[in-house]
C-alpha cells in the first residue's frame, strides 16, 4: 500500500507531503523556517514549547506544527504579526521564569534559546523575572545540571528514555514548579541508571546541561544524528 500524497499551501506556496507527516516536516523540507525548541529530529514530539505554532485557515486557534499532521487542501501560515507576538512572548516568558544570564553562561554564543531570542528581535524582557532559588547539581563526575538555565523542553528526558534506553531523567512537580530529576529525585551522581553517555548534555538547547570544567562560552553541543541512532536501534542492528 502506498502512502497517499497530500497537497497543501504554506505561506501561499503549494507544497505536498506524505500523509502522516507533520506541518513542521513538510515546511522544513520546503525551506520554510518555523522556530522550535522542544522538538528535535529523532525524538518523539512533545509539542510543549509552543514556539512552532502556525495559523491554519478556517481555524481560530493556533496549532503546533511539530505534532499537527498535514491534511489535503490545508492552508498554513508560518509567519504573521500575531505569530511573531506569541513567539516573542513565549521566549520572554522562558527568560523570565528562571535565571538566564547569557554573559556568564557556558553556551553563550551558541545557545538555541539565545539564538532564537536574537532571531525574534528580543532585546529586553517585558515580564518581571521570577528569579527562583534553584540548585546546581554537580554531583556527576563528568556533567553538571544547572536548573537555573533549564527551560523544561524535556529533550533530555526523551533522549535518555527513547534512544539510550536508560530513562534516568524525568520531571517532578507541575507547572512553573516543574523540575528535571534523575531517577527518583536523587543527586545525578548517585543515579543507578545513568550510563554517563552524555546524550542529554548534547541535546539540551541551553546551558542547563554541560560538561564539568567548561568555562564561559566553552561548551559546544554536538549534533548526535539521532534519526540514524533510532533507525539502527529499530532495525535491531
Amino acid at each position: 500500500m502506498t502512502t497517499p500524497i497530500l497537497t497543501l499551501t504554506i505561506d501561499g506556496k503549494e507544497v505536498s507531503g506524505l500523509a502522516g507527516e507533520t506541518i513542521l516536516q513538510v515546511a522544513r523540507e520546503n525551506g520554510f523556517f518555523i522556530p522550535t525548541l522542544c522538538w528535535l529530529d529523532g525524538l518523539t514530539s512533545a509539542g510543549s514549547c509552543r514556539l512552532c505554532m502556525v495559523e491554519i485557515k478556517g481555524s481560530a486557534a493556533l496549532h503546533p506544527a511539530c505534532i499537527t499532521l498535514i491534511q489535503e487542501g490545508m492552508a498554513v501560515t508560518t509567519s504573521s504579526e500575531r505569530l511573531l507576538r506569541y513567539r516573542r512572548a513565549i521566549i520572554e516568558l522562558l527568560f523570565s521564569e528562571r535565571n538566564h544570564v547569557c554573559a556568564v553562561c557556558v553556551v553563550n554564543g551558541h545557545c538555541e534559546l539565545q539564538t532564537l531570542a536574537q532571531q525574534l528581535g528580543i532585546d529586553h524582557i517585558s515580564f518581571p523575572g521570577l528569579y527562583p532559588d534553584l540548585p546546581v547539581d554537580a554531583s556527576h563526575p563528568r556533567f553538571v545540571i544547572d536548573h537555573n538555565r533549564c527551560i523544561l523542553c524535556t529533550r533530555c528526558v526523551r533522549v535518555c528514555g527513547e534512544i539510550e534506553g536508560a530513562h534516568t531523567w524525568d520531571v517532578k512537580n507541575r507547572g512553573v514548579r516543574s523540575q528535571i530529576v534523575a531517577d527518583f529525585d536523587t543527586p545525578w551522581g548517585d543515579s543507578t541508571t545513568c550510563t554517563g553517555c552524555g546524550k542529554c548534555v548534547h541535546v539540551c538547547p541551553t546551558g542547563a546541561l554541560f560538561e564539568k570544567g567548561k568555562s564561559v562560552a566553552e561548551m559546544f553541543k554536538k549534533p548526535l544524528g539521532l534519526p540514524y541512532l533510532k533507525a539502527i536501534r529499530d532495525l535491531g542492528v
Binding site: 540548585p135 551522581g189 564539568k212 567548561k214 562560552a217
Partner: protein
Amino acid sequence: MQKITIAPVTRIEGHARISLFLDDNGTVSDARFQVTQIRGFERFVTGRPFFEMPALTARICGICPVSHQLASAKACDQLLAVTIPAAAVRLRSLLNFGQLVQSHALSFFYLSAPDLLLGMDHPVATRNFFGVAENDPQFARDGIELRRFGQQVIERLAGRRIHPAWVVPGGVSAPLKSAARDEILNELPAMQTLMRNHLKRFRESLGRHQEYADNFGCFPSLFLSLVDNLGRLEHYHGTIRIIDAHGSTIADNLAPASYEEYIGEAIEPWTYLKFPYYRPQGYPEGMYRVGPLARLNVCGCCGTRYADLELNRFRQLATGRPVLSSFHAHYARLIEILYALEMMEQLLADPSVLDPHVRAVAGVNAFEGIGAIEAPRGTLIHHYRVDADGLIEQVNLIIATGHNNLAMNRAILQAARRYISQDRLEEGILNRIEAVIRTFDPCLSCSTHAVGSMPFVIELMGPDGRCLDRVRR
C-alpha cells in the same frame, strides 16, 4: 556639630557621599566617605560552579574585569591543586600589564588631568576631558593612544577588550598567536617613548602642585603590596610586604593565602564599604594604603631600566623614606605604566610565550583557594570555599579601594580641614576634596561590589546636626 555633604563625587567609578562635621568653632572635626550602594556578589555567587567564577567576578567591574578574572583564576587554580603551564603564567602577567596600562591611562589622562592641567578653579563646565582636549590636543591624544594600546593588548591576548572569557581555572583558554605578539611588540617602542616624555613633563610640573602634594592624603600610614622573591615590584606573583611610614619593613614574605591572619575587616554602620586594617596594630590604627604609591614605596626596585631611573627620581620626593602624599600616586601611576611597557617587552621576547600548552585540566582537588594579584588600584584578594562537587560555598573579596578606605577618610578629613573654614561649600573647595579622592582612583563599584555611575553629594553639618549646606552633582 555641623555637617557638610558632597554628593555625588564625580569622575570616580561608583557612587559616593561625603559628610563633613563641623565643631562649635566651625572647623572640620570629622569626615566620612560613604559608599551608598551594595551589589551582593559574595552572596549571589554561592552555589555556582567555581569554573564560572573568573567570568562572574569579572562583572564586578567594567574597568578592571581582567584584574578580577586573574585573582579569581588564581584562587581557582588552587581548587584544582595544579601548577599551571609556564606559558599561561606569562600570558596572564601580560594581560595584567595591559590592564594596568589602560586603567592608569584612564585615571591620569581622562579623570585627573582636568584638575592638574586646567587647575582646580577652572570652570566646572569645561573641567573635564573635553576641556583638556581643547587646551592641549596632543596631551589628550596621547592619553587616548595609551589607553587604546592597553585595551588592545587585552584584545589581542584575550579576544576582546571588556569582559573577555580567556582566563580560566588552570590557565588560559587559547595560546598567543605570533601575529598578535608581533603587533604588540611593534607598538611598544613608540608607547615607551610617549610615556617617558609624559613622565618628564609631569615631573617638571610637580612644583606647581606642591600645595596639593602637601595636603592631598599627606600623612603617615602603613603601605602594603606584593613584591617578588627579590623584593622587586610585582603584580601577579609574589608575597605581601608591609612597611611603616618610616620605610621599615614590619612584615615580609606574608603568604596571600593567610591574609586573614594579618588583615582584619571592620564594619561601620554608615557605609557599605568595609575597613580592612593590619591586625597587629588594631582598628583603626592599622590603617594602610595599597595601590601605585604603596607599590613603589614598598618595593626595593622595579627591575626594569627606565622605570628604575624614574623610581630613583620619585624617591627623591622623600629622601630615604616612603613618599607619604597620595597626590604622588599620579606620578607612581605613570612610572608603573612605563614599567608595564618594559615588562611586556621582556615577556614577549621569550619565545616560550607562544607555547601552545596553556591550560592544566583537573577537577576539584582542594576545597579552599585564595588568589591575590596587584590590580591597578592595589592588592586584590579573592577567597573561595567550595564543596566536594566544586560548588561555591563561601566567598570573600577584598578589593583595592576597600584596603584604602581608612586612608581615604583620613585624606578627606585632612583636605577638608585645610580648605573649609566656614559653613559654605565653594565650588573650588568641593573639587579639591573630590580631587583628593581621585588620587586614590577609587573604584566603588568594585569595592562594595556596588552598582553605579558617579553621583557625588557633600553635606556640611553644623554642631547641632543641622545641614548647613548641601551640594549635589
